[in-house]
């Protein structure tokens, strides 16, 4: 398990993070969605919170605190899902027909 607390792990996580961002940019372009900086910020906040939720649950189970893992996971997971729906709708706002828009990248 030591690899998951190593510097190498965070190096890999960084690569995955960049790929996620590139994928979102590609997805937004395909849908013709404008992606101004505030939308990117919103998405990043949601992504970090989703990551926190998963890490919280994992940490709690690792600590031998399953109650915290379940209750916290449910609470934060619910916030992640509701927030995700909200972010999704905001990201889709202002888009043209699929394939006809260009995501702004700054």
């Amino acid at each position: 398990m030591q690899i998951f607390t190593s510097g190498f792990f965070w190096f890999v996580q960084g690569i995955l993070f960049v790929v996620i961002l590139l994928a979102v940019r590609a997805w937004a372009r395909d849908r013709g969605l404008p992606m101004p900086p505030w939308k990117w910020a919103l998405f990043l906040i949601w992504l970090l919170f989703a990551g926190f939720t998963i890490a919280f649950a994992g940490t709690s189970f690792g600590e031998g605190e399953p109650t915290a893992g379940l209750r916290g996971g449910l609470l934060f997971g619910l916030v992640t899902i509701i927030g995700g729906v909200g972010v999704w709708r905001i990201l889709l706002a202002g888009g043209g027909p699929r394939g006809e828009g260009i995501a702004g990248d700054s």
């Binding site: 998951f4 995955l16 404008p34 031998g64 394939g99």
Partner: protein
Amino acid sequence: MREPEEGDERGEVMGRDKGRIQERGERDHGDADGRCTGEVNRRDFLKLAGLASAAAGGAGLGAFGYAAGKDPNTHLGLQNEYGASLVFNRKRYRVDVPTYEKVGPGSRPDARVEQIFERRGRFMREYMQLRSSQGGMGPITPQHFPEPLQRYYLAHPQDLELDRVNVDELQPLLRADSMEYGDAYILAQAWSSAMGAVGPGPVSGPPEQNDFPRGRGGLPVEPLALKDPVRTAELLKAVAMQFGSTLVGITRLNPDWVYGYPIRGRGFPSTEEPLEIPDWWTYAIVVGTPMSWDPMYANPTYGSSEDAYSRSRIAAARLEAFIKALGYPARIHVPGTSYDLMVPPIAIDAGLGEQGRHGVVITPELGSNFRPAVVTTNIPVATDKPIDIGVDDFCLHCKVCAEACPSGAIPMGGKEEVRGYRRWKIDTAKCQNFWTSNLGNMGCRICVSVCPYTRKANWLHKAAMKVTANDPTGLSERVLTGMHKSFYPGPDPEDYYMPSLGGTSASYRPPPWWLRTEDFIDRGGEG
């Protein structure tokens, strides 16, 4: 690198771009007639890769969390002897005055009656004598006791009753329950006993004899000239870490924290003569270590203070020897009861932490899981400032320890004035009566285990601590306290009691595998 079709204004689809987009679509998805080329285009690949990365990243974070939660290196304070990966940066939390409040003239505590072990020792001797001389005596009153017990019991009649209950009722019950149920804790007691088996011997004489270094033939030693008090502080802290201490702090000794009368076993000719504070007790160097995590989490039955007490004793004794080797006087004040002074307020003055509602010093690194010892000396050394990491405010609202305490010794209300200082006052008589009401190792420590600050030193709890330390609104304290109570429930307080007092001998969390007696020792065919 920007692609040609990205040259338009953000969010606008210009006419010229439509053509390019169409062109691009043909390039990416097929030919102009709509026939698929069979190639995976770059964007689709990126989107698939993004989904895969999200899944892998999420799984990785879950695994990271699990590893961080399970990592023994996060068991508070045991990372390495230098504390390099542990020690909290106190710089921005330093304050000029401690977070306890001085509200009147301070006075020194009378250890003979205000130190619970000293008073109970005296009570026991007097009470046994009374019982043997008077046979079936009636109700006892303060007048049955000599000074200073009489004066104390007149002022604190409830403590007389609690002291009597401890001897008359709780101790016989504990003996009976230990006979019937005590086998479950054989390994826990063996472990605790072994942990406490090593340490410095008792102080051999009064300060003027014990504290000073002696050379060959017992001759006094000249102190070495030291260049700089700041460098000396750095030196003493560095070696204290190597001597086994997890945290070190230095302060000028406040006389109010020195007992008015000496405790037995400290080398003073009489415990009835007031303790004159020696001139050379100028500074107090506080060292400290945490209790082992797994037993601590299985308090009150499986846990013990002896492991941390022993480590702190050894570190303090080594530090005393080091200072003496430099030619300066030094004297250890070490747990369990071998002190001439009260350690928690000194640890607070030395910037190691703040007082919690449960009376224990809460440090940023170890939470409440901290057992200190002190070395008094006059070696010229720079002192540390106290810190304010928000514990005082947090404890005001939290009350987790008070709600979990089976004896009711921790106040639910506000602070009280005690000898000129406003602080939370623990009812030590109630507290110690619970020690005699539960099986396993001596003591309790439930307040240490349940404290929200006593969490593993991983990313999650370090972040929570930093949030509360830097939130002036107090909002995070309330939110995190609510989460703590919901996420980390413990047994009902009455369940901690031994069976004859209506409890189930519950522990806060299950014991580690290596303290489960039933898995290792055959007690007549059981299990």
